[in-house]
Symmetry: none
Subunit: 207 residues, 4 copies
DNA sequence: TATGAATGAGCCTTCATTCAT
DNA sequence: AATGAATGAAGGCTCATTCAT
């Protein structure tokens, strides 16, 4: 049975190899400028081999994103399970989101910055569900702060959305633009802290 | 010389025609789904004619972006020239930035959510410079608020950077994700207003 | 204007070259086993060049057939216009049909022997119309013989169809199988004559 | 040796399973639209397994045709063995031929409306021999009618050839064109009957 | 015997680009 | 200045086939 296991492991490894090569290329060049052949070349396999692991190009991107989001949701759920006080839970989740983006820049940008071409919509249903789950974590966390009187925010739904936009701005700028546009660029820690400060002020943090 | 002038004018007119036809197509279909042929068809010229005005597709795309960002900078300069009170000038500039992104999503993305720097084609040097100019407006405007005591921000450099990140988050989410991830998505106005409110709170707005 | 004419002529010549190379290949190998590349190779042009003359593979086959049938119908119409006595007109038409097949074996087989794959159905509407026209010539001609009392056939519709089947058998066997299956194969003239004799007997030829 | 026998029997059974699965698929989809993979799927074996029973796709296809023509010859021999009166034997054989074509259109076409001889793959030698055998039945049957005075045909060789052409015309039109060319197409029975009537008339049927 | 993994060739088609006119 | 003809490269994908196990 050792044999079967090894094979399964090897198969999974190649799948991962494809996913990571592809996600890198997609982010660097955009969906349309990545060919199955290029992905294959990058991992030194025949192009047709990829089709043994992913039904087509669409499912390949979808696979990349689904994997990444699965991981993010796992982490967020872990935090939620830790029963932290509301504000701490909020901050932990928020930082987790940013960190996730920084750790998986390719996947993050693929899902949140690269507009997914319409043709892929079909295959992205699952991915969107996963994305939504992540965002719902954020929403729940804000709501808990509000109910605990820590936030005086009047419209938690709008706030959740806006906070997400801010997190996204921070994450994606750090990922891809840090220092590129010539603005003096402060330390990563400084800007994350300052951004969260603004968010807390904005939510009317009580104490 | 009347003749030479007319010729020059005509030449310029066609160049503009190409740019605007291409720009329209790009907005409708995304950069990758537009071919030189389609642009040519739209203006009823031969595809090869475009090459008399633009060395290649990259230059055409760069031209479109340069046009757009030129316009943005013009608007920002106009605002700067209006001698508004600092806070109003800041808000006007900021809203102008967001609106620009929404009006020119493809160009915006090409400049600000770009392939990694190394990849940026030769032809985009100039365009990036124009993008940078826009950001410098923002920085100047914040500094003016600070100096006028409207903002109590202690580290204006960090703030400028963070504010830009937030604007970028708002803009790019609206451009490419609004509603796509299944989140209940509030009205565009509401979220822009709320985001700016957070920014102002965060900057310690006085009065 | 000489120049434009020459160009038009050249363009038409290449179109014809493509058509005849393609029809040869299609008949030899069947629709599915002919690639645009092979056609292109055969005439020593780039594959993409073919697309300047035919929108796609389907339209290429359709073009071949439409051309051939146009020619056949032209000939049949000429015969019809000659105002021959009914029996002579019938025979002339019938021989014309066979001769046409023998002169254009590729096109003939492509239309009548190679089953056109369903995918091409769309583009074959025009071709089918042309084919139908040819068959209607035959039907009209039989009907005239019947009305003139030369044929005593009772069901001219069935007869037209059956005669066409016979003509098709004769034509296609001569084209593609003559002598191949090991049967002693008599002279072409002999078998055509004998087949027509059977047809006339079958139609109850009066005198 | 019981073991070896069982193995041999099992081996043969799978071979037959492959042949019949493939045959079905070919009838449904045409030879070109069936892949080794699809055949394998249908019998729930791995694609590579087929190669243990057939050297390649050509051999598989040839096998299918050989099977079919074997069956045809069996039937024709059975008829020949029944000692029917010559005319009845002739008609029975002739109808059997047509029916075979209609039941196995792809195989029929592959053998009788084939690519030019040179192209016929090595693997088809045997199949073509089987086709020839079927035709020889026809020839023998006609000769018997002539010798019995049922046919007054003067040149039996030419007649055999012509009759075959007619049968082939009927068969192949019904197979591939029935109704496709827009002709009002009478019932299959009617046209077969009428065609045979013409043949009999043509052969100078006595009584 | 049977298989799963892998491949290379090939398919239709699109497109940016060149070049002679 | 403008064009039409032509091309080579590339892209997504399928498939027959091989081979180690």
């Amino acid at each position: 049975m050792g044999i079967a296991e090894r094979r399964a492991r090897e198969k999974d490894e190649l799948r991962q190899k494809i996913l990571s090569a592809a996600s890198e290329l997609f982010v660097e060049n955009g969906f349309d400028n990545v060919s199955m052949r290029k992905v294959a070349d990058k991992i030194e396999y025949a192009a047709s081999t990829i089709y043994l692991y992913f039904k087509n190009k669409n499912e390949l991107v979808a696979g990349i994103c689904a994997d990444a989001f699965g991981a993010l949701n796992d982490r967020l759920e872990e935090i939620e399970g830790q029963q932290l006080p509301p504000l701490e839970a909020f901050l932990a989740g928020v930082r987790c989101y940013i960190e996730f983006g920084l750790e998986h820049p390719h996947q993050y940008r693929l899902v949140f910055s690269n507009p997914v071409p319409e043709q892929v919509a079909e295959e992205f249903r699952e991915v969107n569900t996963l994305g939504l789950q992540a965002l719902e974590h954020l929403a729940r966390s804000i709501e808990r702060c509000r109910q605990a009187g820590v936030f005086t925010t009047t419209d938690p739904e709008v706030d959740a959305y806006v906070i997400w936009m801010i997190l996204h701005g921070v994450t994606s700028v750090i990922i891809s633009d840090h220092g590129r546009h010539g603005m003096p660029c402060p330390s990563q820690e400084a800007i994350i802290d300052r951004a969260l400060e603004m968010v807390l002020h904005g939510c009317g943090l009580t104490r």
